[in-house]
Amino acid sequence: MAAERLGLGLSLALAWTLVQAAPASPQAIHVTGYGSVEFLSQQGSKATFDAHNLNLILVGKLRNHLFAAAEVEYEHGGEEIALEFAYLAFTRIRYLNLIAGKFIVPFGSFNVNHPAFINKVPGRPFGFDRVIPVTYNDVGVMVRGGLPTGRLTRVTYDAWAVNGLAGDPGGDLRGMRDNNIDVDGSKFFGGRLGFVGPHGFDIGASVHTGVYNDENDLRVTLFGVDATFQHSGFELKGEFVQANQQTTAEDLKKRGFYGQASYLATTWFEPTVRFSQMDFPGESNRDLREVSLGASFYPSDFGALRIFYRVNKERSVTEVKDNLFIAQFTVGF
């Protein structure tokens, strides 16, 4: 009932904003996007090229306070074609932007900043595919914005109501996405509260919760904290996420963490190292660690060549030789 009331209220607000939108100014529409091509050589597997993605993003300022954006993914040589997001945004209310449609859920940092031309280490950290199922997008409504707290500093917030995850009891969270038409009728609610300060300091805490099974009696709640610090070419960033998942038996606690350090030594060279770890209770073969070491080379402001070696370690079972060499060329345009 509360979800229906919230939806009704937000729908009325959307309608009011649209009606009150300023007279049409010249529309500003732009096609942007990103793409990446990789060469992968992993122990125990055959080396391969991968046309990982070429994703086109349409952004349009339709009226002064009405904005639309959509991203279409073409991934792995055409094996995957999907709609990453498609939403309308209303920016008429000062300090409050209203978004409706399908959007990337801004839980934490990595889920939003996953594109290859942004993510300085190729591939996902452990825990950021199965604890928080990156890339996690969902259908619903969201409010977000920033409140000034000083010169170039602000408190940021996001609050959303979405269709949420849906699946079998105890199932893998990654397989619970794409609930575009809510099959269980139970909405998920969440938010992120953050602070943006000087020197690239950005810290936030996130939560996302709802019931996920058809019987509407099992809840999953995700908690996360993320932080970034940048100064004089140095960047340190880290993120922790935990999923508390109720099952018909014992509850599951799944955790993931990564820490990353990089240094922009010149305008074209940036060595980077990343450590990540994932803990799955009762499934020790998923307790994994990763160390990735390599560098990015920047031929321009919109392209990067990344050369990395990723060491994957099993923590409590027999070691599997699956280390990975990856060369990735990526552009954001």
């Binding site: 500003a28 920033g146 000034p148 170039l152 943006v196 940048q230 321009s300 402001d301």
Partner: protein
């Protein structure tokens, strides 16, 4: 829905409602001293990705991109407007000054545009240098230029590391002495590399003052008689 879960949903809804109420009640006057568009650009746009050159897009493209990115970065309305002015209006000025536009076709025209605007007499830069003690030039330099060129103009500002080519060293007396008034006026007005066209961001008298301050930074003036 069981009791505790129902309560949790209610708490989330109540929290969201409180945040919304606070936001709607927030006075516009809560905004502290406004930073310049250049500062906002350098402080925010390089957080997640490399700084895109200001001439990478045209005005309407920047308009859409800024709208998109300001949402993702959760920028405040004033920050969004500042960076929009910096990138969109800068791009418009650059387009207006492009060859074939019929505007600012020659160096003297550029100097006229940059330093006098409409109806003002054309001053010589050496005369403007006499205004080294002026408050305006340093204030504009701090707001618009320090982010890339650094506090002393050495090309070592916070955004410099992400820029290729690096910002110029404005304190290099030898280099600045070779830069004629006309060339300085043209660069300021129409921009170059990652530097935006300040012709429409700043007023003519502001351009004059900041140009004078640039001469003060290096203490170097062009040869007598050069324009």
């Amino acid at each position: 829905m069981s009791g505790p879960r129902y309560c949790l949903s209610r708490m989330v809804l109540a929290g969201a409602g409180l945040i919304l109420a606070g936001l709607l009640a927030a006075p516009a006057s809560a905004q502290p001293v406004k930073p310049s568009g250049a500062e906002v650009w350098a402080a925010n746009c390089g957080r997640c990705h490399r700084l895109r050159a200001v001439d990478a897009y045209g005005a309407s493209q920047w308009d859409a991109v800024v709208a998109h990115m300001s949402l993702n970065a959760r920028m405040t309305p004033d920050e969004t407007e500042a960076v929009r002015q910096f990138l969109v209006e800068g791009a418009r000025a650059r387009q207006a000054a492009a060859p074939g536009s019929g505007i600012l076709a020659s160096a003297p025209d550029v100097r006229q545009f940059a330093f006098t605007g409409v109806g003002l007499p054309l001053p010589s830069l050496p005369r403007a240098v006499a205004a080294c003690s002026s408050q305006t030039g340093p204030a504009i330099f701090k707001a618009q230029c320090v982010v890339c060129h650094g506090a002393k103009g050495k090309g070592d500002g916070p955004a410099a590391a992400a820029l290729n080519p690096r910002p110029s060293n404005l304190s290099d007396a030898g280099r600045m002495a070779k830069l004629s008034d006309d060339s300085l006026a043209k660069v300021l007005t129409t921009g170059r590399n990652a530097m935006p066209a300040f012709g429409k961001i700043l007023k003519p008298e502001e351009l004059r003052d900041v140009a004078a301050y640039l001469r003060c930074l290096s203490g170097a003036h062009p040869p007598a008689g050069s324009k």
